[in-house]
Amino acid sequence: MRIVIAEDQVLLRDGIARLLTGAGHAVVARVGDGHALIAEVNRQRPELVLADIRMPPSYSDEGARAVLHLRERFPELAVVMLSQVVEPGLVAAVTGGAARRFGYLLKDRVLDTAIFLEQLAMVAAGSTVIDSEVVAECLRQEARRLNGLTEREVEVLRLVAEGRSNAGIAAALVISRRTVEAHLRSIFGKLGLMADPEDNQRVLAVLNWLSESR
């Protein structure tokens, strides 16, 4: 897989590049800011972009803005955003109505190398992956609005928001796929979500619902 890495911390950037190269991917460009990221994506047309949210010069959301810019022009480009801290509001802002081929992970996850590589592959294949910390933070902030859900339903919702498939949820909770589907219907009914529980876009629906109050 052809990958562009945008990360201003050289040590970390090189580490990630080493990890990816070791796993058989081609790191076609390594950049340190948003402008360079857009330029390199233009030139290299990678399949996946791995971008830090905060980069120079202002260290606020250059990465996020560059990614937004790119996703509008290259809808098929898979993007995984890396963040040092949990910023739940940022997900909805960056996905901007399309959560396919999108990932949002804490930087610490790169240390769990096997899982990290798997998550990159999932995003490149079209899935959505949201860091469980981010989802947990979203759910914490929304605790009151989730009062109507049972504990099990909240768990299922969290896994949906993380981008798991029905099969993945069933495996994680050790329940049957039928039970997962029943839970999903109940959740979507209670929250008033219009998305089809079977659709991949349900992740977006859940994330948008979670970010509504902000």
Binding site: L11, I16, R18, Y59, Q84, V85, V110
Partner: protein, 640 residues
């Protein structure tokens, strides 16, 4: 003595200095003229009482009239009002001063006899004109038409005296002159505020009090003639005249002088108003009773009617007085309402706003206060620029310190009535400044923390992460199993460090701990853990550092018990020891045991945290098995 008496009118134009050079001149003139008038009057007293007048006056009454004249003249000299008021005061003083002398000298010739018979006309006309002149001076609004009306009625009254048949009309016109000042002054009281309002009300009182006094004395005169008590109806009238003239002069002088006089104090104004109302009550009741007595001569009936009327009119007067009290001094009511709220430290501006909303009857009213750094804030502390139509509540006109912004069109007028509430709002304004200062310090602390956390995240944390990742990748390529293990342990330690840096930078103590304390926070923490079978928590709150420390101890101990010890039953206890001086945190599990703070970096971190807060952490084997994590934390200030 004729020369003295006739010399008085001559002194009149010399007295009032229209464009006077300071006050010393007029004061001196007033004193000299008053002294001269007094001497003239006393000399006139010694002249035998004229036979043609048809009534006699006791020398004491004449003395009272003389005193009234002296008083008015002195006030005229002392006045610093605008010239129309001063001229009128002078005319009043001089004519009043001359009146008893003229009466005593009525025998001296037909001209003096006429002057004696009409001596009351000029001073009483001044009594009518002065309140109107005064309120014009106070409010700056012209009332010329009303003064003209008084002149016309006076002319009518004098003209009709020529035709005996029209005498009733003349009397009506003369009485009408006493009603006009009231109609002319009171409407102008509306729309004034603060001290100006009290001055305007004093002008209004100056239009009512003389009428009330004269009416009372008239009634007493009628009582005298009805009840045949003697023959002092004319004397009662003259007492009324003297009192009315001096009251008018005093009130007008107080209302128009630039000096702050006790006559303008709220209790005095309210007392005068109460006096007027009492006099009106007495007049109505007495008048009605006397009228009945004169008609039917049935004393019990007259007494009954008098009592009923006294009670009825008296109650109405009391209600009117209460209403007037609020009208005269809305700020006093504001103060009373605020005082009723009691101590509202920390919420003073909100209290002020709440009370004002009720007083003004405007639920959308807002009170804005200027803080010491020149920024306007609302009671919630939010910055807000006062709009142009806001009404000043405190501070100088050009640079107010507190304003009110009404949401209804009639609020502005009502707010203006309050005048300057500086003293009432002093605390609230100070509080706003203090709170803003505190908020600024808070904001600075938050900004600093934010900067620190960004430095940590974007600097230290990223670099640590890079090192860890590189070390981890390098370790995987090592052939020597011992070296690999060593590297893996180092990577673990580094990961913990990364984790710690993050939580440090976030500075995040769970919101539930900050808001609810240990009880709710720990309950929330253990909820997903089925293994926690015992949970004993204190109902009370502790200092934030202690709560945070205890929370992290329990968190780490639980993580240890679940992850490494595979415990089935975990007990969590937080309890007070040694009479509340020490809090013990106890986490007991029945797992495999073997936990040691020297090995796990998590427990080590907690041990450091506990010792930093002056406590002790003990991790030991449980009996019969498992692990016991025990932290004792000092509660309250550490012993020095």
């Amino acid at each position: 003595m004729g020369t003295r008496g006739s010399s008085l009118p001559g002194a009149q134009p010399a007295g009032p200095v229209v464009a006077g050079p300071g006050l010393a001149g007029p004061v001196l003139a007033g004193t000299v003229v008053a002294g001269a008038g007094l001497v003239a009057g006393i000399v006139a007293l010694r002249v035998p009482w004229p036979a043609d007048l048809g009534f006699t006056l006791h020398p004491a009454i004449l003395g009272l009239m003389l005193c009234a004249g002296v008083g008015c003249t002195l006030l005229a000299g002392w006045s610093d009002a605008r010239w129309p008021v001063r001229v009128a005061l002078w005319v009043l003083g001089l004519t009043t001063l001359a009146y008893p002398t003229l009466l005593g000298l009525a025998d001296a010739g037909p001209a003096l006899a006429l002057a004696a018979m009409t001596g009351h006309v000029l001073p009483l006309t001044m009594v009518n004109l002065l309140p109107i002149l005064a309120i014009s001076a106070v409010t700056g609004r012209s009332r010329r038409r009303w003064m003209l009306a008084i002149g016309v009625l006076l002319g009518t009254s004098i003209l009709t005296q020529v035709f005996q048949a029209l005498a009733v009309l003349g009397s009506a016109a003369w009485l009408g002159n006493f009603a006009l000042p009231m109609i002319a002054t009171w409407p102008l009281v509306r729309g004034t505020g603060g001290v100006l309002r009290r001055r305007a009300i004093v002008c209004g009182l100056a239009s009512v009090l003389p009428v009330a006094i004269i009416a009372l004395c008239l009634t007493l005169g009628i009582a005298d003639s009805t009840l045949h008590l003697g023959s002092w109806s004319v004397e009662a009238l003259m007492i009324g005249f003297s009192l009315a003239v001096s009251t008018t002069a005093a009130l007008v002088w107080a209302a128009t002088t630039a000096r702050e006089t006790w006559l303008l104090r709220t209790p005095v104004v309210l007392g005068l108003l109460g006096g007027v109302l009492a006099v009106v009550t007495v007049i109505v009741a007495l008048g009605a009773g006397l009228a009945l007595l004169a008609g039917s001569s049935r004393a019990p009936l007259a007494l009954g009617v008098g009592i009923v009327l006294t009670v009825g009119v008296g109650l109405a007067a009391v209600r009117l007085h209460g209403w007037a009290a609020r009208q005269i001094d809305p700020a006093a009511e504001f103060a009373a309402e605020l005082a009723m709220l009691g101590e509202v430290s920390g919420e003073r501006r909100l209290a002020v706003q709440q009370v004002l909303r009720q007083l003004i009857g405007d639920p959308g009213l807002a009170v804005l206060v200027r803080t010491s750094d020149g920024v306007w804030v609302d009671p919630a502390g939010a910055e807000r620029t006062p709009p142009a139509e806001s009404i000043r509540l405190a501070g100088p006109t050009e640079q107010p310190t507190a304003v009110a912004v009404g949401s209804a069109p009639e609020s502005a007028g009502r707010l203006r009535l309050l005048g300057d509430c500086g003293q009432l709002l002093e605390d609230a304004i100070l509080e706003a400044s203090v709170q803003r200062e505190a908020a600024r310090a808070d904001a600075a602390a938050v900004a600093e923390r934010h900067r620190l956390s960004r430095d940590l995240h974007d600097g230290v944390q990223g670099r640590l992460l890079g090192i860890t990742l590189n070390l981890q990748l390098s370790g995987e390529q090592l052939a020597d199993p011992t070296a690999r293990l060593l590297v893996a342990e180092t990577v673990d330690a580094l990961r913990n460090a990364v984790e710690e840096v993050r939580s440090l930078g976030d500075g995040r103590v769970p919101a539930i701990l900050v808001d609810g304390g240990l009880g709710p926070a720990l309950t929330h923490l253990v909820r997903p853990l089925a293994a926690v079978t015992e949970l004993r928590l204190p109902p009370r709150r502790y200092p934030p550092e202690l709560e945070a420390c205890a929370y992290f101890v329990v968190g780490e101990a639980l993580a240890n018990a679940v992850k490494h010890a595979t415990a089935q039953n975990i007990g969590v206890r937080v309890e007070e020891l040694a009479g509340g001086d020490v809090v013990r945190v106890l986490v007991v599990d029945d797992g495999v045991g073997g936990a040691d703070p020297r090995l796990g970096s998590g427990l080590r971190g907690i041990a450091e945290r506990v010792s930093a807060s002056g406590g002790l952490l003990v991790v030991r084997e449980g009996v019969p098995g498992g692990t016991v994590v025990e932290a004792t934390l000092p509660c309250g200030p550490a012993p020095s």
